[in-house]
Symmetry: C2
């Protein structure tokens, strides 16, 4: 991506690394930054490699885990690598944000609480010439969609899901990597805070006024679409989600994708956090997305991505894609179970499928780019 | 509704009344206010009844048209009754807003530009003890939906459409009136600025962060649902709209309606303002809405509302529902054409239908409340 938020960075993840620090883990796995340190006062003295299990494809950058900004020798940006429910700022993080700004580092945050509006941080940033990037703040000049995203030169591939945390961001990033591995000029279009931090720019569409969701996605595609052969757009939520479908639907219509990749977590039967809502059979999602998207532009579910991390011996805790996508150990039985699940999933949706972390996104690339 | 924005009001509609003053016309037709005057400096000296043709069901309150606030003898609120594209404030309105606040009137506006953030208006309001209601400003404490709107005691009926300006607000209000005429305790749940001004409260969901659209609708239903027998929810946009579907979809899932009323403008074949997008056949919308809504809660399209105003001798200019829903003259031929169109529409969607302005929402009430 062109815009980046720093070269050498520190990731704040106090008391939450790695299980509850999805953003930090995402940046460690997919970001193109030199990570100087992870801040977690409870894990200080360890290293990322000690606490974050390796993933076959999505291996994470190693780095020391330290207690505070004072323990980081040099860096040029501090990333807030956690996103607590509600998106509030934890006052126990203040000394580190303050210390980073005092050292002239930029600060990058995806919290709902905008750090640039914090009086102390704003003053410090101003004094030290540091920038504060609140990546969930929508641009002030958004507009409604004009319905022209399909005019970009690039092919547009959108990940869609049966639920939140089904692996849409991970799948999108693995597809970008697999395409680039084959010499294809692929671009990543992030729509959520972790993706934006990884890419160094983008719009967090869940925070955008509802009227402008499709327009925000369209703008990102128009900005990037004529420079790339293919653009992989990170989807959000699910077309059946009781709370988040507005975001999902705005992205689907705004992106006008040439193809969609359906992401699902193996074995899931209810909406996460909304367990009274059964997940419809996965096979029905093909028609759900094709019918919904097709009213604006013809498209198809061209492939599937199945998150099989729960098929490892011990199910991963929490619902986070990045964390749960980590096989705890090499496990041939689990791989066999995962392969069987992927095959069943492919049959259900009538399209090639893989687990892009356990196996390889390259397995579905041909179908995606046909 | 409980909260009202005034008793005796003036409606600002300079140079736009009535054709391009949808909000003013909506308030004149459906609001429960005593309208002291309409402000239109180009029409001063006329009366509402001279320039706004009568509608069979949706007749408008008469009032003098005057040039400025100075010409209004007494009132307690000024409503901005126009909503220009872009939602900006026209500086030529400043003397009237200033004069209203100086007289201690409240000011009610649905502009994107928030009058309460205008330095002069904020100071005047403070000095005179007047309130400024920017009805498009979302509440600051919105949350995601919990998926529980269906737990309210009231039956919930949602209007949905094939496009914007298909008559959803008008249909919703006519259904409320028809139900009340039969002694049913019916409530109106507004989701757009004109509806909010009519109701005296509500949330303009198009301005709400996308994550919170369903939650905003759910909140309005939970606030009102246990006091009413039936709640009629004003829908927005269309499930096939390239720009606005996020709003539509968030409302559909947030409302968890018991039944939906499909609104359509007779003869329309493309998305208004997006003419390269054909409107799918109206019959397909039944399945589109039922499939989309049904993933969250079982529901059906129980009736249809057809806006037949274009079947009058001269097609109404513009796309505004309120204005275009005005039959220019009694026309028996037009009525016959409209009745035939309604019958064809009913057959297409497999449900009873009417034109609630030309005919009577009572014709579909039984189907809606079954």
């Amino acid at each position: 991506m062109s815009a980046r938020f720093g070269e050498r960075i520190a990731l704040l993840a106090h008391e939450k690394f790695p299980e509850r620090a999805k953003t930090a883990v995402g940046v460690l796995r997919y970001g193109d930054y030199d990570v100087a340190a992870v801040l977690d006062r409870e894990r200080a003295g360890t290293r990322v490699a000690d606490v974050l299990p390796a993933a076959r494809r999505a291996d994470a950058q190693d780095a020391p885990v330290v207690a505070s900004v004072a323990d980081v020798e040099d860096a040029d940006a501090l990333f807030v690598g956690v996103s607590p429910i509600g998106g509030g700022f934890d006052e126990s993080w203040r000394p580190d944000v303050r210390a980073a700004l005092e050292r002239g580092w930029d600060v990058v945050s995806g919290l709902h609480y905008f750090l640039a509006e914090d009086e102390e941080f704003a003053r410090l940033a101003d004094e030290r010439g540091a920038e504060i990037h609140d990546v969930r703040r929508p641009p002030g000049d958004l507009t409604v969609s004009r319905g022209v995203a399909d005019e970009v030169d690039a092919d547009v591939v959108l990940t869609v899901g049966t639920d939140c945390s089904a692996g849409k961001m991970t799948t999108t990033l693995e597809l970008v990597r697999a395409a680039r591995d084959r010499g294809i000029d692929a671009g990543f279009v992030p729509t959520g805070q972790t993706g934006i931090m990884i890419a160094g720019g983008g719009i967090a569409v869940d925070r955008v006024p509802a009227d402008f969701v499709a327009g925000a996605v369209e703008r990102m595609l128009l900005d990037r679409g004529d420079e790339r052969e293919v653009l992989f757009v990170e989807g959000q939520g699910s077309v059946v989600h009781p709370a988040y479908s507005a975001v999902t639907c705005g992205i689907v219509h705004g992106a006008m994708p040439d193809g969609m990749v359906l992401c699902h977590r193996a074995g899931q039967t209810a909406i996460h956090g909304y367990e009274s809502f059964d997940l419809p059979p996965v096979g029905t999602f093909v028609d759900r997305y094709e019918a919904f998207a097709g009213a604006v532009s013809e498209t198809e579910v061209v492939a599937g991505s199945l998150n099989t991390s729960d098929l490892d011996g011990a199910a991963a805790p929490g619902g986070g894609t990045d964390d749960a996508a980590t096989p705890g150990r090499e496990d041939e039985d689990a791989d066999a179970r995962a392969r069987a699940a992927v095959e069943e999933y492919a049959a259900d949706i009538g399209a090639p499928a893989t687990d892009p972390v356990r196996f390889d996104a390259g397995e579905i690339l041909e179908a995606v780019l046909r």
